[in-house]
């Protein structure tokens, strides 16, 4: 099958270790079904991550049923509310992403990183800038040069306003000296790609998995990507182009607040075993995701807090903070 190339970057088969409960107290965990709360769009990357985890997890949670609990609404607030309300209960987990930190940063939702117990980060999905194959732009430099020459004439489509995608691009733009590139917000990443494909916008700011097939077919080109990807080996990286930053989308797992350190360590081991399972690896390859595991829960917590701070500072500079 033509997707064999995908397996180039699949992580070598996992260790398959099954973590046993760390403390004798926790030997009884898990004693009922596990819920993974998902507040993302059904079928989207974050929702799929939740479902792939639920599919692979039972083997590492003593055979307990693991189900995805859909709680959409309020820009994620409904799901977060549910998770926060289950303080101290390790049977409820949530898929937490960059969008969550941006919504916290804007002040749209009344949540803080401290409302949850960070467990581990699983994926990092670098942003990239892509154009239609016949675009005059060959490099990011070309695009920004034209934007500086003719302010407002270069348009960039992408998912959402004051979203993780938007902020990722604003960070890149700031590093390029704030050339006037017009951000055109779309309802979804797919719609933003169609806009660029149809020539309605000059370029699109998105992630690899959305444009993968268009790159293979040659209908689109990537100007530069934030972090090197195995599948985009010959593509320039932001740093190499002179922009010293790497804005990424990322996804991880958090628990409700108030999990004891040993409970958290237990959950982390079980989840690590889950994401190393063959079934999960297959999903990662098929969804065109590369592992970027951050299995130090404290470091993950710091990462979340730092993301909120960076986003808040940038939003403040752009005048986009919601008045609280």
């Amino acid at each position: 099958m033509a997707r064999a190339w995908l397996h180039w970057f699949a992580v070598p088969a996992g260790l398959g270790l099954i973590a046993c409960g760390a403390a004798p107290e926790e030997a009884r965990f898990p004693n009922r079904p596990i819920e993974i709360v998902s507040w993302a769009t059904p079928g989207g990357p974050s929702d799929l991550l939740a479902r792939a985890l639920a599919e692979a997890a039972p083997d590492y949670f003593e055979g307990q049923r693991v189900s995805v609990m859909t709680r959409q609404g309020g820009a994620g607030a409904v799901g977060m509310q549910y998770l926060r309300g289950r303080a101290g209960d390790p049977h409820v987990l949530g898929v937490f992403t960059a969008s969550g930190t941006v919504n916290m940063a804007t002040g749209r939702i009344p949540f803080a990183p401290t409302d949850f117990t960070p467990i581990l980060r699983i994926q990092v999905d670098p942003f990239l800038v892509a154009v239609r194959e016949d675009s005059p732009f060959q490099t990011l430099g070309d695009l920004f040069a034209v934007a500086r020459e003719r302010p407002g004439e270069v348009s960039m489509s992408g998912f959402g306003a004051a979203s993780a995608h938007f902020l990722g691009f604003q960070r890149l733009r700031a590093a390029a000296g704030d050339p006037d590139v017009r951000w055109i917000a779309y309802e979804g990443s797919g719609d933003a790609v169609v806009a660029a494909l149809g020539g309605h916008t000059d370029a699109v700011h998105t992630n690899y998995n959305i444009v993968r097939e268009h790159l293979r077919a040659g209908t689109m080109r990537v100007l530069a990507v934030a972090l090197p990807l195995t599948a985009l080996r010959d593509t320039p990286v932001y740093v190499g182009e002179g922009y010293d930053l790497a804005p990424v989308h990322w996804r991880g797992v958090v628990g409700p607040p108030g999990l004891a350190p040993e409970v958290r360590a237990d959950l982390r081991e079980r989840l690590l075993a889950t994401i190393r399972a063959a079934g999960f690896q297959e999903y990662m390859a098929r969804a065109a995701m590369e592992y970027a595991v951050m299995d130090d829960s404290d470091a993950f917590g710091d990462w979340i807090a730092e993301e909120v701070e960076t986003s808040r500072a940038l939003l403040g500079r752009l005048g986009l903070l919601v008045n609280e």
Binding site: S67, M69, G152, G319, L320
Partner: protein, 147 residues
Amino acid sequence: MSDGRRRSISLVEAGLLAVVGAGVLLDARGYPAPLIEGVPGPAFFPGLVAALLIACAGVLALRGTRAPQGAPESVRGVLRLLGATLWIAGFLLVLPLIGHLAALPPLVLGLMWLSGERSQWILMAVSLAFGGFVHLLFVVALGVPLP
């Protein structure tokens, strides 16, 4: 209903629509300015809709009553309406607390009673069967967690 009374109800109706329009206009004053000069921002469309709504309310108030004529509102009818609304609201309030198995049968039973069903046997059987049906279908067969 007298003509005068119908006219005043019509005015209340127009007034209500105008208040909604004014509320939208008021809220729109707090929206951020357009990001790009010369391009409508987030306040443009709400302003347009609110202005049209207020204009329509004005026409409605001026042209007088043309409401559908029907039988007059009966006191019992209004009581049933209020009862059903409160009953549904009560259901939504207690649903997360007591769960669907306990909350659904009383909801159905109450609404059937208000609709005029008086057979105790039917009231009990239908409401209990419905609760069980929803549970089996959603929770057991489809695996949807209900509160």
